[in-house]
Symmetry: C2
């Protein structure tokens, strides 16, 4: 089932004691550069450095005492893993995390630092799911899927909720799309609060499965995508795809060069650290494939977890 | 003459239409790491990405109409040059900038981008001063020295003024020291607003001329220092040295490794871009050579202008 605006509002109340209300930044030089009035919702300043904490926290604090006692588990390439580990730590329950063995060092260390119990596996979706199934059956832990989970989607929607409380007259709202959890939550919140607002997704050209899925009308899985935006490698889910089909105007693909240029510009001019996946949404404005000139555009900067030893320029 | 607190307050009013009131950030993980309650005054978010805009702006807007018409000039390795160029542009007057030919590309481009009229010279203090003298005599422009200038010192003091308005009960205030403009303004503002507050400077071990000058009681010039903190290469001035001797408790030197570790930590955990010179002040807490445990410590993060192609790790 698709979460409702009320469930997103309930999520906002539930996570409020734990999550940051992140700032909304603006930059005159950025506005001039892209020809729009841009409002950046800075989830790079969120706990664990990404919006993922919102969904994970909502899921963990939605559990009954009995469910919670057995812990939570998931597979994730990084940010969701950190988020779930921290949320579980805050509630005092175990978090079992299946991670691909090629995940960036900074992400592995962060998950371990939050007390997550990591099991490594081969970097394929199949290996992850098999490993996770084993752990789940043994521990009785509740699976918190990175995106195909109502509680997670409702949590992710709280970023758009906050942004629209602060800037109610946005014309358009842009989020990146990987598995579609953030995009689904964003689209529900925006569409229900402000009917008629345009919701647009940014996706790497090199991982354009969501773009192709929208065209085809069925989920086309992501097969070994190669993009600098390592948070957007996953495929849409059974829960997120219908929400996105119904509520998202279009998915705009952006080039690798555009992602890197946008990311570097934000570091240089705004002096904030964002990850490539966060730059993907802003790159929609940067590359200008669709005309959003003169509009008030909200952009969700999804996170700021980057391996500083391996920068893409 | 040393500027007074009233002159710093006047500077704050004068620059208020042009400069950002920068945010004060905190981080629980940073507090745990250094064992103090740290309040970061984020001058990396200031116009041109550094505190230098405060002093330059105060100097430019202190000129009479007649003086202003002939323009301003200076020599600077970077941030002051950008700051003066922008302040002059805002007032609609020319800014003649003498820069060393080995300044980082990002800084050269930024000065040109703000409309500064650049003359390059050899990277020695002598070459800079000779080149500047020629330009000054020809144009009649007013020299705005990067630090040894009352108007500049008063402008730099406005950062500490704002920080103490927001966090009035600081025990200690730490700033980096290069030529001493920021440190002098900080020490005057802090000492006059809150007598008894401890003012401490951070300085790179590899450019420890201020440390040695304090010991010796006379200005010991900086000779070809080699440090990653390229904003702190200059020597103390005739105006800044006596202020620092009178008002600064001590200058603490920090290692190159400590500067780089601190800088990287801030990027990774706080998700903000700071330059090595900004990390120098925080490295005083990071390295813990002097005991500031449990104190409320303000730290002025001086700027965020970094060449992203040449990171020090």
């Amino acid at each position: 089932m698709s979460p409702t605006l009320n469930e997103i509002r309930a999520a906002a109340e539930r996570i409020q004691p734990y999550a940051h209300r992140t700032p909304v930044l603006t930059s005159e030089s950025l506005n001039r550069k892209v020809g729009a009035q841009v409002f950046l919702k800075c989830e790079n300043f969120q706990k664990v450095g990404a919006f993922k904490f919102r969904g994970a926290c909502n899921a963990v604090y939605s559990l009954t005492e009995e469910e919670a006692a057995r812990g939570v588990c998931t597979h994730s390439s990084g940010n969701h893993a950190q988020a779930l580990a921290l949320a579980a730590k805050l509630r005092g329950i175990p978090a079992y995390i299946v991670m691909p063995n090629n995940a960036p060092a900074v992400k592995k260390n962060a998950v371990a630092g939050y007390g997550g119990l990591i099991t490594f596996c081969e970097p394929t979706l199949e290996a992850r799911e098999n490993t996770l199934d084993g752990i789940r059956l043994e521990s009785g832990a509740t699976l918190v899927h990175p995106y195909d989970d109502e509680r997670v989607i409702a949590g992710q929607g709280t970023a758009a909720l906050e942004l629209l409380q602060e800037i109610p007259d946005l014309d358009v709202l842009i989020a990146p799309v990987g598995g579609g959890g953030l995009l689904s939550g964003t689209a529900i919140a925006a569409g229900e609060i402000k009917p008629g607002i345009r919701v647009i997704a940014g996706e790497p050209e090199m991982a354009d499965d969501a773009f192709r899925s929208m065209r085809a009308g069925v989920i086309i899985p992501s097969v070994n995508p190669k993009t600098v935006a390592d948070g957007l490698l996953t495929s849409l889910g059974a829960l997120t795809f219908p929400i996105i089909r119904q509520r998202v105007e279009q998915i705009v693909t952006v080039s690798e060069a555009g992602i890197i240029e946008t990311m570097k510009y934000v570091w240089e001019r705004l002096k904030i650290v964002i990850e490539p996946s966060a730059a993907v949404a802003l790159a929609v404005l940067w590359e200008g494939k669709i005309n959003l000139r003169g509009l008030k555009a909200g952009v969700i900067l999804s996170g700021g977890n980057v391996d500083l030893e391996k920068l893409p320029w």
